[in-house]
């Protein structure tokens, strides 16, 4: 089915067309959200919100970009919104805790285990994901789309509505930052001997 035809059917409220759209893009959207949020429940919630938004705003899709680009764009924006809200609520909870409110501070999941990572790479991937989480949001989005989703630089640029050169620069800087974070971790880990991944996550 052609993309425009699919969107037209979704606009007219055809569940079958929406199901087809979901079948094609669900894993892509979910994997992107999981890579950015690094929590299964949050990634599922974000994926739900993405598809709900797609269904409700299908009439605004003008076909200037591909359907895939549009969906990835919504997913990335949704994840960035969730991250911002989380940071804001953490800050607010911290202030509340200073004033003696009894609400618990939100604590991040100690380490993230992506289900798609090869078994022999699991431990290193956990350290890498912890470092990815500390990247500035644009670098994180570009890195996730490129490395986790396997989008090319130009596809990533389309999703992020920027130029290919800007994406190249973002990914270069992301790699530099990751290298720096990882070197800090491994330096401590070797010299300290006993320091663990959890200690690294706490420092971050």
């Amino acid at each position: 089915m052609d993309e425009k035809e699919l969107i037209a059917k979704i606009i007219s409220g055809e569940e079958q067309a929406f199901r087809e759209l979901y079948r094609v893009f669900a894993d892509k959207v979910y994997n992107t959200c999981l890579g950015m949020l690094q929590q299964t429940e949050e990634a599922e919630d974000a994926t739900q919100e993405v598809f709900i938004e797609v269904f409700r705003s299908a009439s605004t899709f003008k076909g200037l970009s591909s359907l895939q680009t549009w969906l990835y764009r919504i997913a990335v924006n949704k994840c960035l919104d969730i991250q911002k809200k989380k940071k804001a609520s953490k800050r607010f909870a911290f202030i509340k805790s200073i004033w003696g409110a009894e609400e618990d501070l939100q604590v991040d999941q100690p380490h993230f285990d992506h289900p798609g990572v090869l078994l022999e790479n699991k431990e290193h991937a956990k350290v890498l994901f912890a470092a990815i989480k500390q990247l500035p949001e644009k670098q994180q989005a570009a890195f996730t789309l490129n490395k986790l989703e396997g989008l090319s630089y130009s596809e990533t640029a389309d999703v992020m509505q920027t130029t290919t050169a800007a994406v190249e620069s973002l990914i270069f800087r992301a790699n530099e930052n990751l290298r720096h974070s990882l070197s800090e971790y491994y330096k401590d880990n070797i010299s300290g001997g006993a320091s663990s991944l959890q200690a690294f996550l706490l420092i971050l």
Binding site: Q48, I52, G116, N121, L182, S183
Partner: protein
């Protein structure tokens, strides 16, 4: 030691190679349909108080601008009588006939 650390960094950076895409839960579509059928998009309401405050703020900004412009026009710039001022400066700096001796 450094070599060991570099090796680990490279291994960590390469750890995403060959990874598979995570799959969404099979129940997710059902949840989405349920949400779509139960959730009504929330209309955006602005209370009268907010609209009034906004209007007052705009009116205040406009009136302040107006007052500033009006008062700026009323301030008279001191007039410089060309002859007297210039001759005073000339007398102060060029007392001798030789222009290069100050």
């Amino acid at each position: 030691m450094k070599h060991f650390s570099d090796q680990n960094i490279e291994k960590a950076l390469q750890s995403l190679n060959g990874m598979k895409r995570a799959e969404a839960s099979p129940f997710l579509f059902g949840k989405i349909l349920h949400k779509l059928s139960t959730q009504v998009p929330e209309p955006v309401y602005y209370s009268g108080k907010i609209i009034l405050q906004f209007a007052m703020m705009i009116a205040l900004i406009i009136s302040l601008n107006f007052i500033t412009l009006k008062s700026h026009k009323q301030i008279k710039q001191p007039e410089i009588t060309d002859e007297s001022a210039i001759s005073q400066v000339a007398q102060e700096y060029f007392e001798s006939d030789n222009l290069y001796i100050y």
